[in-house]
Amino acid sequence: MLEIIDLHAEIDGKKILNGFSLTVKDGEVAAIMGPNGSGKSTLAYVVAGRAGYEVTGGDVRLNGKSLLDTGAHERAAAGFFLAFQYPLEIPGVTTMTFLKAAINAQRKQRGEAELSTPDFMKKVRAAAAKLGVRDEMLRRALNVGFSGGEKKRLEILQMVLLEPSFAILDETDSGLDIDALRIVGDGVNSLRSKDRGFLVITHYQRLLDHIVPDTVHVQSQGRIVKSGGPELAHELEKNGYRDYVAAAE
């Protein structure tokens, strides 16, 4: 369960999150929609533990424990995952090497034994095949020269392998064609379970056709201004954010 409670955060003195509150229960898929610049990515980064933001109030709790005083790597080991809106290129580090380093770093923090190379390979190959990630991509430097869609698939592959208890997907649909959208949707759906929650940030209904949310929330100016069920996404698709943005001002 992820609880975000009256969160206030700023960067370089600029207030971006203004009393953001949202609870996503285990097994729930929540969607956040909202205009560009409303602070959706900022929310994702603050929850993930990126440096540079000043949290001036509120709390973020994963499965009841506050994350705010922990580093990004500790949050990951505690079960949090962020699929980036803009995944970074990591030159010189093959996807395979990166995945192995990530899995084992988390296992080590949790006091678990390292995954053996054959077990690791088996797991990666199986997950990659499902997501249409070619072997050749696993041998290349992570995200270097990958298309936008390939990068997004790689994010989902990482998520599938790291098995988080909670994941935020930040505009994972941007840059995906219709086929890739379905593959990514299937990847997420395969992870849906009663003890795992998701927060899906998106602009478009089309991703939510594949990953059907339980709740939909509208973010404007750094906080949630409207919450509802899946029908809210359809309404936003038709009418845009205008009414809610105006209401927030």
Partner: protein, 465 residues
């Protein structure tokens, strides 16, 4: 084709642009003049070689030791580092050989494949420490023997000095070098196993080492060539070693060079002279650690059309080490391709330098030259100087260069950490990737892995401090 026979070598040797004639000699320069005058008895070689030595030393005397006022040495003050001229290293004796035997054994133990290893100890080829069995197509001659016998290979090795564009350090090498090793690969020979020269300094006494070595590859010859520089003891040393790589038509040389860390008191100047005939291919990948003062200079000339030359390197520097990589790439024939890709990681108060100059003569149309130097600085006091230069006299060419310098990227670092990897490990992973990117181009996986192990060991030491 060796420069001796080539048209280009007939031109007068140019003094480096911006060279300032030093009128006032410092103690080291005076001592070098005495050393040269008093060592003539040691200078084996034909009358022509003797003449070259005199001319080289006269040139050196005019130029003096390279210093900041010489444009091509602006960032590396060799004159300042030469407090005095150390005496020439004595011929290694049994004791010197014994002291380094374990190092050679360690290299052998780490071999992942059969290697023909040739050891140049304190500037002298050591038959006892070197592989006794030579593969077919390979001829190995100690430089000293070749000089005494008047062997043509010695003449070629020394004539190659003209590729050095009048550089004062090359001149000094030419004046003093009597040792080294000359490797000849027969035309058409494909040498299966790598050939390695180990330039080893015993460090048993404060001394100067000058050697001239060569790899002469006949038309169509193919060889993997390793070069390793290391020092055993801790005594102050002044090393000035020159290696000539001559590539015949359609020959292929894959060169891998490792320069191990050297003591603060070490001054190490390693010059590589490269001459390429038509359709030859030279790839050179280096891993360079720091020293008190280290300069690696490569003068490459693409004499024949459609030659391809790729020089890549990783520099890992820490403490107050100083490491300078200076490259002059001369395109004199049409349709050649050159690449220079260098990545440096500089920590603490160390200084890295990359100077790359690509010159394209008027007749060298369709030249394709690209140069890239990047550096990651890990500390406030770390410095990197990048100086790319293009000098183009042909109109139909594609040439470009790029240089970047900065700290580790925060966004990449956060991305890696967000996957569960702690900060120190995330940094190491990114740095490993930064080095690996360049070393990945080594075709042979075992060789690449061995170099990556050295990179990882260096990074692990960083983590421990």
């Amino acid at each position: 084709m060796s420069p001796q026979q080539s048209e280009g070598a007939a031109r007068p040797v140019a003094e480096p642009v911006g060279a300032v004639i030093s009128v006032l000699r410092n103690d080291a320069e005076k001592a070098l003049a005495d050393l040269f005058a008093n060592s003539r008895a040691l200078f084996v070689g034909s009358a022509e070689i003797a003449q070259r030595r005199e001319a080289a030393f006269a040139r050196f005397s005019r130029l003096g030791l390279p210093n900041r006022r010489v444009e091509s040495w602006h960032y590396t003050d060799l004159r300042g580092a030469f407090k005095s001229a150390l005496p020439l290293a004595a011929m290694p004796d049994a004791q010197a050989r014994a002291s380094v035997r374990a190092r050679i054994e360690a290299l052998r133990a780490a071999d992942t494949q059969a290697v023909t290893r040739l050891v140049v100890l304190d500037g002298v080829f050591e038959v006892e420490l070197s592989s006794s069995h030579l593969p077919e197509g390979l001829r190995v001659t100690p430089t000293c023997n070749a000089l005494i016998a008047g062997d043509a290979c010695a003449a070629r090795a020394f004539a190659a000095g003209d590729l050095g564009q009048g550089d004062a350090a090359v001149a000094l090498n030419e004046a003093f070098a009597t040792g080294g090793v000359i490797i000849e690969v027969a035309a058409g020979a494909m040498i299966d196993h790598p050939v390695e020269i180990v330039f080893l300094s015993s460090g048993r006494a404060a001394h100067a080492i000058y050697s001239r070595s060569a790899l002469l590859v006949g038309d169509g010859g193919v060889v993997r060539f390793f070069e390793r520089r290391l020092t055993h003891g801790q005594q102050p040393i002044q090393r000035n070693e020159t290696l000539f790589v001559d590539l015949g038509q359609k020959s292929i040389v894959r060169h891998v060079a490792v320069a191990e860390h050297e003591a603060k008191s070490a001054v190490d100047v390693a010059t590589t002279l490269v001459c390429m005939a038509a359709d030859a291919e030279f790839t050179s990948t280096s891993l360079q650690f720091g020293a008190g003062l280290r300069r690696r200079q490569i003068f490459a000339r693409m004499d024949g059309p459609h030659a391809r030359c790729s020089l890549r390197g990783v520099g890992l520097l820490r403490g107050d080490e100083h490491s300078d990589t200076t490259i002059v790439m001369e395109h004199v024939a049409p349709g050649c391709e050159s690449r220079e890709t260098f990545n440096h990681i500089v920590d603490n108060d160390a200084t890295g330098i990359f100077q790359g100059k690509v010159t394209v003569a008027a007749q060298a149309q369709k030249t394709d030259g690209k140069m890239k130097s990047r550096a990651i600085l890990l500390a406030e006091g770390a410095a990197m100087y990048n100086k790319p230069e293009l000098e183009i006299f042909a109109d139909d060419v594609t040439c470009g260069h790029g240089a970047t310098c900065g700290s580790l990227d925060d966004n990449q670092l956060f991305y890696v950490q967000s996957r569960g990897i702690p900060k120190a490990e995330a940094e190491a992973l990114l740095l490993e990737g930064f080095a690996g990117e360049v070393l990945d181009e080594i075709g042979n996986e075992q060789t690449r892995d061995a170099l990556m192990d050295e990179v990882r060991a260096w990074l692990a030491q960083r983590g421990q401090k």
